[in-house]
Symmetry: C2
Subunit: 442 residues, 2 copies
């Protein structure tokens, strides 16, 4: 790759070695920055020969330690894989290098009125390769699905340097097992994604955003049911609570959105070819109060009450952050029992929850108990799985949750996953120990 693309200086390597959350860091053996697939393959062959562990890294915006090196690992940074191939307008598809950021792709596609219908707050850092490797979600997933729903092909380098390339973008190809789907969400443990072919959607020009005030989360489900039935323009439906709203208003110095307080708030985003705000009238009489905006500045002002939650929570201290999901119809039960369990374990804790209503994805933040005390984490994850939920809705397992994977997957499933890992990476050098828990010594 050239000597200048191999970083051994610890100070220079720091941004590759410390994650955003401040929870994970390591001293990598070195950071290597290949420029194309051939170099990625050569790097992996060398590492395989030397039996050195390799951790592929995109924008390093992950939350689960899946892309942060431990001591002695080689960081394989994919950020230089910056190619954007010509747009295929007939198929509405594009092939891009793994290192292209979501934001760069969005800007590239805007003149064509097209977009990848996956979006999230880390768009300036997160790379398309990393988003495929982690099956990224976000607020649009309820409507459009996660990354797996939009990846039409991958180029992947295996642990031993062999390359698989399936980039012609076929929508129909029932020719054996779907390796592409399996690699998506495998967090760099089965192969290194170097190029991604994406299916795109047409940008809908007319937008409307509503902030809805509700008495409780049960009524939010009624809004969701109505939206399914009568609001085809719905793109996102997120929720937050009064406690979070108050904290955001104080932290960001925002005015309260409504004259009085409400227990639960929904932010609803709609997009269509013609003004979608008329569709929102279906909620009259169902909600306690509402604000609707159609211009960009006003829409952003409404979204700030939701988007400001994460920043506000992080500014209040180091929270226990848990990204769980439960079946949508069980959300009221989950949130009710969550409050009780957290109050039992940590009576002084402050609980701030928000998330994506449409897919039951709840971001749980617990402030107060020291982060080393994992009792609240265990309680939240056990509660979610007891209701058929997930211990990681969109952030993945990485290092952060591997110990808890047995809560969410049976021994049979874990055995199959280990066998899949062995099939792809028999030497166990690719992102070792991420996702899969240690084998029970018994």
């Amino acid at each position: 790759v050239g000597a200048d693309q191999v970083v051994t200086d610890a100070a220079v390597a720091a941004s590759f070695a410390h994650d955003l959350t401040g929870r994970f860091s390591g001293r990598p053996l070195l950071v290597v920055r290949p420029a194309h697939t051939g170099e990625v393959s050569a790097v992996l062959r060398s590492c395989a020969r030397a039996a050195v562990a390799v951790i592929p890294q995109g924008g390093h915006s992950g939350m689960a330690g899946g892309g942060t090196p431990r001591d002695g690992e080689v960081v394989l940074s994919l950020r230089r894989l910056q190619g954007i191939e010509p747009l295929d307008q007939t198929a509405q598809q594009i092939t891009v290098g793994a290192g292209v950021t979501l934001e760069a792709l969005q800007e590239h596609l805007r003149p064509f009125a097209l977009a990848l219908p996956v979006d999230h707050g880390a768009r300036s850092a997160a790379t398309i390769g990393g988003m495929a490797a982690t099956n990224a979600g976000g607020a649009l997933a309820f409507r459009h699905g996660m990354m797996r729903a939009h990846v039409r092909g991958l180029e992947v380098v295996l642990a031993d340097g062999r390359v698989i390339s399936r980039l012609s973008g076929l929508l129909k190809d029932n020719s054996g097992y779907d390796l592409t789907s399996l690699l998506i969400g495998s967090e760099g443990t089965l192969g290194v994604i170097t190029r991604v072919r994406l299916g795109l959607e047409r940008l809908l020009p007319r937008r409307a955003t509503a902030l809805l005030a509700l008495p409780d989360i049960g009524q939010a489900l009624e809004v969701l049911r109505l939206a399914h039935e009568s609001v085809p323009s719905l793109q996102a439906i997120d929720f937050f609570e009064l406690r979070g709203l108050r904290r955001v208003c104080a932290h960001l110095n925002l005015p309260a959105p409504f004259r009085r307080d409400h227990e639960v708030y929904l932010i609803v985003d709609c997009a269509a070819r013609s003004d979608p705000s008329e569709e929102l009238e279906v909620f009259v009489g169902v909600v306690e109060d509402a604000l609707v905006a159609t211009d960009l500045a006003s829409r952003r002002r409404l979204w700030l009450y939701r988007d400001g939650q994460n920043e506000t929570v992080n500014a209040l201290g180091v929270p226990h952050k848990l990204d769980v999901a439960v079946p949508v119809s069980l959300l009221p039960r989950f949130l009710g029992e969550l409050r009780v369990r957290v109050a039992e374990i940590a009576p002084a804790a402050e609980l701030i929850v928000y998330g994506h209503l449409g897919d039951g994805n709840v971001h749980v933040n617990i402030l107060g108990p020291p982060v080393e005390d994992v009792r609240v984490d265990v309680a939240v994850l056990e509660l979610a799985t007891a209701l058929g939920g997930s211990i990681s809705a969109e952030h993945g397992i990485g290092l952060a949750k591997r110990g808890w994977l047995p809560l969410a997957r049976t021994e049979t499933e874990l055995a199959l996953m280990r066998a899949l890992k062995d099939a792809f990476d028999p030497a166990g050098l690719l992102n070792p120990d991420r996702i899969l828990p240690d084998l029970d010594p018994g």
Copy 2:
């Protein structure tokens, strides 16, 4: 399962032993018809102990020999798994037994104005379990995706009888490798699907169908591009050619749709909340002629020109039938070269092609050469793969195309697939020899 659910009589077992196409049949050891997951598990445990090969079977409407037994295999019929669980209206999901037919599901959901957005001609026979196992496609796949896009969870019995159940229907669950996606399309070689949780879409009440006449397939791509841009109600866009139209009109005694002949015809189906036929005006000046229908009877009449193609071809003789796909933008090149190659190999052959324009899925029918002469088949599959296409777009590999899989997948991919098969079914008893080609003895 009870003695009456074990069929050993050859006459009774015949429908389980001979496939629709007439190409595959065998003398199964017996046919066993379990009533629920526990019985499926017990049957598989018994077969594992006896080291007998098992072939899972749904509606037996597959086209690739993936569900037809060979001599001495046990047919595991899933048709008695007929449960339909209560509809989850909040999540717009339903869980059904593997043996429920697509048609039965459609009828069950109609009163709720919901549907599984996958449909095809074999709806009265094909089961939901079989459709998941084969990742069924059809005309709506261009718009809505194939089965993999709609399965929200599976219950699966492994070859040794262990059961995996993941049916809570989470839209977001990044907890390790996605076993569900891998099992979909694995054609019963990795596990036996016993229950399926499906995501549903709202039925759109207003429909419009157009039959468009075009000078060539290149102009059809221009129609597709325009449709992407300006016809958001588009659900399906299928094509056929003059030769096929003439044969259908003669066979089904239909009038010619237009006053004069055209080279290529598109059938376009639209669905929306309000009359979608106005959107179709974008094609004025782009097509040579057009018919538009909005009532059910007239729409069906237009579709008959397309839907009658398969029946008509089968009535003309035993055709070479190849279900391939190519990248959409390469369709004109594929169809042009196809004509040349077939004419070279079999100058007297009649070539009838039709398919799904939006996803490049071409059903190639070659009449004339005896079916044992596979030279035209090889030529078609080689042409498709040379253009980055698929040797099986929606029918799967089964027994029919396993020998040709190396045309479409590299040795690296085939080795990974074999390793996956070993991980799930180390004894090789589940649908043996389907999908994967024999190892090269060299």
